[in-house]
């Protein structure tokens, strides 16, 4: 008896060890660090910026970054045409990008998921109504919608989030509905009915967790897209209005100085690339890591 207990204990310990080994070896360390850095940047922006992002200083305009001739350590990444510190603006810009991404994905992504689950599980008229609504939303060009909102209601953070959410939800609803349709047919759902589960319980307890994998991966992969969209809207002038610094508007502002003062557009552009790439890489890793079968294969 003692021998058996010990054996069980050993197996369990070994299992845990290999699980930990797997994680550390295979975590996408760099992308996660990058994301964490930008996240912390956004949260503690006030504390770490060397200058105010909106303070103009005409005598200090167009100073190049510190490592170039004419640069100074006072403005590590240089200044723009109005003398505003580029580094501070990039730091504060991360707030907007990440906030817009978070809110849009929350409203659009989760809202779409919910509607997708309802559509997929209910079938019939409800399904048809939701899907037709999704199709019409997808047919509408999002940029146009955002511009419309900006023109009629004035540009603001809310309008950007609304515009992006409206485009997002339909994608999630469709993807999730498809997943639900296939999960619905699987035997363990029949088994749950046999055991006596209510409709609600089947949806929440059995279908949703099996669909969640897809949703989480979609969410991560779309963060990049949303950030770029927000940048595009700011670039076009339909995004979050000045004086709030956003990466998109920074790229836009530096357009005329691409040759003379490349850093004004280029550096925020690099920030966009870093964040988007990191989220995409993390999304790829997540989609593998979340599949319990693949995880097991890697361990054993």
């Amino acid at each position: 008896m003692m021998v058996q207990l010990k054996r069980i204990n050993d197996t369990w310990k070994q299992f845990r060890r290999s699980l930990l080994k797997l994680q550390i070896r295979r975590w996408p360390v760099v992308p996660i660090l990058v994301i964490l850095t930008f996240l912390l940047m956004a949260i503690f922006a006030n504390l770490i910026t060397p200058h105010s992002p909106t303070e103009q200083s005409l005598p200090e305009r167009l100073i190049p970054p510190a490592w170039q001739a004419g640069g100074s350590t006072d403005h590590l990444l240089g200044t723009d045409v109005l003398g505003r510190d580029v580094l501070s603006r990039i730091i504060f810009g991360s707030r907007v990008s990440l906030l817009v991404a978070f809110l849009s994905l929350l409203i659009g992504g989760l809202g779409g998921t919910l509607l997708g689950v309802i559509a997929g599980y209910s079938g019939g008229k409800l399904d048809a109504v939701i899907m037709r609504a999704a199709d019409s939303t997808l047919a509408f060009p999002m940029i146009l919608l955002a511009l419309l909102l900006a023109v009629t209601l004035g540009p603001s953070l809310q309008n950007v989030v609304i515009a992006i959410s409206i485009t997002l939800w339909a994608r999630y609803a469709r993807a999730v509905r498809g997943e639900v349709l296939s999960v619905k047919e699987r035997d363990f759902v029949a088994q749950a009915k046999i055991v006596g589960c209510s409709r609600f319980r089947i949806i929440v307890q059995h279908i949703l967790p099996n669909v969640l994998n897809t949703v989480v991966v979609l969410l991560t992969l779309q963060v990049g897209w949303v950030i770029i969209v927000e940048a595009t809207l700011s670039f076009l002038g339909a995004g979050v209005p000045p004086p709030t610094p956003t990466w998109g508007s920074m790229v836009s502002d530096g357009r005329e100085y691409l040759v003379a003062a490349w850093w004004i557009s280029f550096l925020p552009g690099i920030a966009i690339v870093m964040v988007v790439l990191s989220f995409n890489l993390m999304g790829d890793w997540l989609s593998e890591a979340l599949d319990p079968k693949l995880r097991e294969a890697a361990v054993g």
Binding site: I8, R186, F188, Q191, G196, C197, P292
Partner: protein
């Protein structure tokens, strides 16, 4: 002792599709006594599984619907119960084991979580008593180191073990009636034998009434007390197990039995039944087996499906040759 536990009377379950009405179950009747095993035999598509789903009232909607008949469990008509009452019955009074263990278990939850679900729903167990009952159930179905297994995920178990877990879940709330829908079809032969022994043992321990759906006569011989042979949505022969093997009466039953290859066979060609089962949305008039029957006569294509005739005590056939 020989009390009738489940009585199915003239059950009709149809599927309403664009191609027509599929009469998956068209007037099936049989009864199962307490602590007895009733075997439902037939080809794929004959309506065995749909009959079982009808008993549980889990026929896929909106296309499928039970359009007629009665299903009496201990005297109560299940077809008259509300959905809420049925949900209380499912899992606690009637339970079912499905065919494919690979997909019967939810891959994202542990075995323990799934085992506890029925117990939480019907017996309202919590905490330590829930855990203890879980371990007890796993031990009962012959799974070693139950504490460890409770924390495993389905993909960490072999097919045979998964099917045992499914059995444990089915029996967790001590149902009175257990329906097994070809539970050993996807297991290999040695595991099959073990699993069937287990089921038999559990049945004897608990005085369980069982309905066993299969297309394998070997399993029928081993497990069943009474057998019903189905074809194209109808019951064509019902008899006690031994009687059926000694005295198969319906041409379909005879053909089925002779098509099973035997070790002592000297012929080079395997016997099979000519033709194909009819499309259920377009059944022929008269006996639905007539087009493939070697002993058919002109009578067989008459208007009606042949009525029930008792050829021996407790042995019923639906065939114009005996009607």
């Amino acid at each position: 002792m020989d009390k009738v536990h489940l009585e199915v009377e003239n059950l009709k379950t149809y599927f309403f599709t664009r191609r027509g009405v599929v009469k998956a179950v068209d007037g099936v009747s049989f009864s199962v006594n307490q602590a007895q095993t009733f075997g439902l035999v037939g080809e794929s598509g004959c309506g065995k599984s749909v009959s079982c789903l009808s008993i549980l009232r889990l026929v896929p909607e909106p296309a499928g619907r039970i359009v007629g008949g009665r299903i009496l469990l201990g005297g109560e008509n299940l077809l008259e119960k509300t959905e809420e009452k049925m949900r209380k019955i499912r899992g606690s009074r009637i339970s079912m084991i499905l065919q494919d263990p690979m997909t019967s278990l939810n891959p994202v939850f542990t075995i323990g979580d799934q085992l506890f679900e029925a117990l939480q729903l019907h017996r309202h167990l919590k905490g330590q008593s829930l855990l203890d009952r879980g371990k007890e159930l796993l031990k009962k179905v012959g799974i070693a180191s139950p504490e460890f297994r409770l924390r495993n995920y389905p993909h960490e178990l072999s097919g045979g073990m998964k099917q045992r877990v499914v059995g444990a879940i089915a029996l967790s709330c001590e149902p009175h009636l257990l329906i097994c829908d070809e539970p050993t079809t996807s297991l290999d032969v040695t595991i099959q034998a073990q699993y069937l022994s287990l089921l038999k043992e559990l049945q004897q321990q608990a005085g369980l009434t069982m309905i066993f759906v299969t297309h394998d006569f070997g399993i029928v011989a081993r497990m069943c007390d009474r057998v019903g042979v189905m074809y194209a949505g109808r019951m064509v022969e019902v008899a006690d197990c031994r009687e059926l093997f000694n005295n198969p009466t319906h041409p379909y039953t005879k053909a089925l039995m002779s098509s099973v290859p035997k070790l002592e066979m000297r012929e080079e060609r395997l016997l099979s039944i000519e033709g194909e089962p009819p499309a259920l949305y377009n059944l022929p008039t008269g006996c639905s087996f007539a087009p493939r029957c070697t002993s058919r006569s002109t009578e067989c294509k008459m208007e009606e499906f042949p009525p029930n005739v008792e050829v021996e005590d407790g042995h019923w056939v639906n065939c114009w040759r005996y009607g």
